[in-house]
């Protein structure tokens, strides 16, 4: 569903992403791990069509900058970028209208799920960091995308919201959505990942597939790779 082939993104002479390729199938959750500056957010922004790059990125077979791809794609940015002067409910109304989606009930259910329903009439500028993050997640999911990318979605969330987000991820996976999630909170993804890509210096240093036995430790693998271990 999400396919990345030989993606390179350079800032002047520095390659933030160096010839990266990966696939995320429908109904799977792929995790991007890596130290600060490894190039995770750059790759995510390339997928979202926010940066120019060399290579190919397709979403459900469509070029990532095409209308078809955008319709099927949801993106939760690292920093919530919302509108100060729109209320919580208006954010979702705006997304619904911009994406030409009629399903108001689904948007309401997202707000309820993330405990934002009682804050529906509060302005963006009045929301705390955690509430902004929750709203940003709701906005990314309002049009029921088939491919969703989460860039550090847990940052700023309270334990209840983290639990809700994990549950939502499992549901999206069950519905056949392809999910790519970048995080530093390794323990928060230990119990539901399918594939993990560990990035260092703009490259994939290791790729690990979940064998389903629950014996693999992402944390151990991460430290092994980033503290000088060999690539897998």
């Amino acid at each position: 569903m999400l396919s990345i082939e030989h993606v390179t993104k350079k800032y002047k002479k520095i390659a933030a992403n160096d010839d990266l390729s990966l696939n995320v199938d429908g109904g799977t959750i792929s995790i991007l791990l890596g130290p600060n500056g490894a190039g995770k957010s750059t790759l995510i922004k390339c997928i979202a069509g926010l940066l120019r790059f060399k290579g190919n990125i397709t979403i459900c077979g469509h070029d990532n900058k095409s209308m078809e791809a955008k319709r099927l794609f949801g993106y939760v940015p690292e920093m919530p970028a919302l509108y100060d002067l729109l209320t919580v409910s208006e954010h979702l109304e705006f997304i619904r209208r911009a994406y030409r989606v009629d399903d108001e009930a689904y948007c309401r259910s997202l707000l309820e799920r993330f405990e934002l329903a009682d804050k529906a009439n509060r302005l963006g500028k009045e929301l705390s960091k955690g509430m902004l993050q929750k709203l940003s997640i709701c906005c990314a999911l309002a049009h029921k995308p088939k491919v969703v990318i989460f860039d550090e979605p847990m940052v700023g969330l309270d334990p209840h919201a983290i639990k809700e987000l994990k549950q939502l991820l499992r549901e999206l996976k069950a519905e056949g959505t392809a999910i790519l999630l970048s995080t530093h909170m390794i323990d928060s993804v230990e119990d539901y990942w399918d594939t993990t890509y560990i990035m260092t210096n703009g490259k994939f240093a290791a790729t690990e597939y979940n064998d389903g036995r629950g014996t693999q430790s992402l944390e151990d693998l991460f430290f092994k790779i980033t503290e000088g271990g060999e690539a897998v």
């Binding site: 069509g49 970028a81 209320t87 109304e93 911009a98």
Partner: protein, 524 residues
């Protein structure tokens, strides 16, 4: 070496080092210095020998107006978050350190002085015409520059004092506001009275601005006195002007040091606000002047489907930020243009139109699309880029039309223009608004968020010049090569501008249509 001296010197040293390390910054600095040198050297030769210079008091009157505006803008922040001479690292590292608050204050004042000087650099580019028309020497130019820097510096310190006095009490806030507004109105009334008695003309206004009463007007009047003293060789004026500024500064420093026990608290909010603004700018966010208390009013966009949702969202945002079709800046610009036409009414419509168009460059901003460009949604929404672009721009169009009426209708009465000229003049002004908007968009398309902001501005001005050429060229052709018998020269020019500016604008929009497909959001 003390900690504060070390900090100041290290910051200065690192600033110079970063300049040398960054080719773009270095090229920019070299170009800037080169331009200043060319302006000064070229400007010195620009005066025709034997030509009688104009009355220097005109220039002093203009400087008083400029200083008043800068001082007023600076002290305005004293009623909001306050003003700060400090940066966030100062608050976090210097304030808790065992350093005397007095030393910290002087450290802040010294930093601010440096910033004020940098802000006035643009004045150095005015040397050519100042020397050519008013015979101002380079030393004279430096006096204007000094006055500008002092007005900003004193404005910042005054804002800090105002915040310190008024932040704790709404009553005090109102009282100080009324007192300052009262002082401003009293001096405006004096100018009005003077012009009523001596006639509404530029010479009367200049006379009025150079009277003793105006020279008593806080800060800008005092600086006017300093300038007058220098140019008219009157030590009394120099001493009076400079002395009053020094006394004000000493009183303010005295108040900060001895009147209040803790000035750290007073600068905290403004420092945090300034820091957030800088951080936001570094992260690419365009900060919006959102009112402190937003009246939410009706909830919901109610309209819009696909790309048009952006337009209806902008309407909601404009209502909440109290931006209606006309904002304060537009009113100020319109009033300035009308006043300009009043004082030079004998010159006809062209000088007024040229002046108003020049001002329009600064007035035509991109509005909400600037804020959209730094958020992901405009790129993510599955709609054609050209449609998204146009729907994000149209919230600004009614403003351009209303503003054109607001400027041209009073001007047409003052200059006694015929109806056809008035209509064409309005349309020509709207066409320039479109042209400048398209220039803005094209700059975004070609320049994007990359590179230095200063270079982007140079590029933007060059582009505006280029886009304006077809209209100006057609005017000249029709005026001199193929005169149109049934149109007056004025109307020929306005019609030429309309005929060319509108298609050129839409061509520029068309060429920029893929801007949203080839974004580089990371660098913004």
């Amino acid at each position: 070496m003390g900690a504060l001296t070390y900090l100041l010197l290290t910051k200065l040293k690192n600033r110079i080092k970063s300049l040398l390390k960054s080719p773009v910054k270095l090229v920019y600095a070299v170009i800037l210095l080169g331009l200043i040198a060319i302006t000064i050297i070229g400007g010195s030769e620009a005066r025709e020998a034997g030509k009688e210079p104009r009355d220097i008091r005109e220039l002093i009157a203009g400087a008083i107006g400029l200083y008043t505006m800068m001082f007023a803008l600076a002290i305005k922040s004293g009623f909001g978050n306050g003003a700060s001479l400090f940066s966030m690292p100062d608050v976090n590292l210097v304030f808790p350190a065992p350093i005397k608050p007095r030393n910290v204050l002087f450290f802040g004042l010294f930093q601010q002085m440096g910033n004020s000087v940098l802000l006035g650099l643009f004045l150095l580019f005015q040397y050519t015409w100042m020397h050519s028309v008013y015979a101002v020497s380079f030393a004279g130019l430096l006096m204007f520059f000094l006055g500008y820097a002092i007005s900003i510096f004193l404005g910042q310190v005054t804002a800090m004092v105002i915040y310190s006095i008024t932040s704790s009490s709404e009553t005090k806030n109102k009282t100080v506001r009324y007192v300052l507004a009262g002082i401003g109105i009293a001096f405006l009334l004096y100018l009005l009275k003077y012009c009523l008695e001596h006639g509404f003309s530029l010479p009367s206004l200049v006379e009025a601005a150079n009277t003793t009463v105006i020279r008593l007007f806080p800060v800008s009047g005092w600086l006017g006195s300093l300038l007058a003293g220098y140019f008219l060789s009157s030590p009394v004026h120099v001493i009076t002007g400079a002395g009053l500024c020094v006394i004000l500064l000493l009183i303010e420093i005295g108040y900060i040091l001895f009147g209040k026990l803790d000035f750290y608290e007073d600068v905290l909010e403004s420092t945090q606000a300034a820091y957030s603004a800088i951080t936001a700018a570094k992260e690419g966010a365009v900060r919006e002047a959102v009112p402190k208390n937003v009246k939410i009013g009706k909830i919901g966009l109610d309209r819009g489907w696909g790309a048009s949702a952006f337009y209806y969202k902008h309407l909601v945002e404009n209502r909440r930020s109290r931006v209606f079709f006309i904002d304060l800046a537009t009113v100020v610009f319109a009033t300035t243009c009308v006043l300009f036409s009043f004082f030079i009414r004998k010159g006809g419509i062209f000088p007024v139109f040229a002046f108003a168009t020049y001002m329009q460059i600064f007035l035509v901003a991109l509005g909400r699309i600037n804020k959209e460009l730094i958020k992901p949604y405009i790129y993510l929404v599955p709609e054609p880029p050209m449609k998204k672009l146009l729907y994000s721009l149209i919230e600004g169009f009614p403003k351009y039309i209303i503003e054109a009426f607001l400027v041209i209708i009073p001007v047409s009465f003052i200059l006694d223009l015929d109806p056809l000229t008035t209509v064409l003049c309005i349309l020509a002004r709207i066409s320039f608004a479109l042209l400048f908007t398209s220039g803005n968009i094209l700059t975004e398309r070609l320049w994007g968020g990359s590179g230095s902001k200063g270079m982007a501005m140079v590029f933007y001005f060059a582009l505006l010049l280029l886009l304006s050429i077809p209209g100006i060229a057609l005017s000249l052709v029709l005026l001199f090569a193929f005169p149109v018998s049934f149109l007056s020269p004025n109307n020929t020019v306005f019609l030429s501008l309309i005929i060319c500016n509108i298609p050129v604008s839409f061509l520029a929009f068309f060429l920029s249509r893929n801007m949203l497909s080839y974004a580089e959001l990371n660098n913004r």
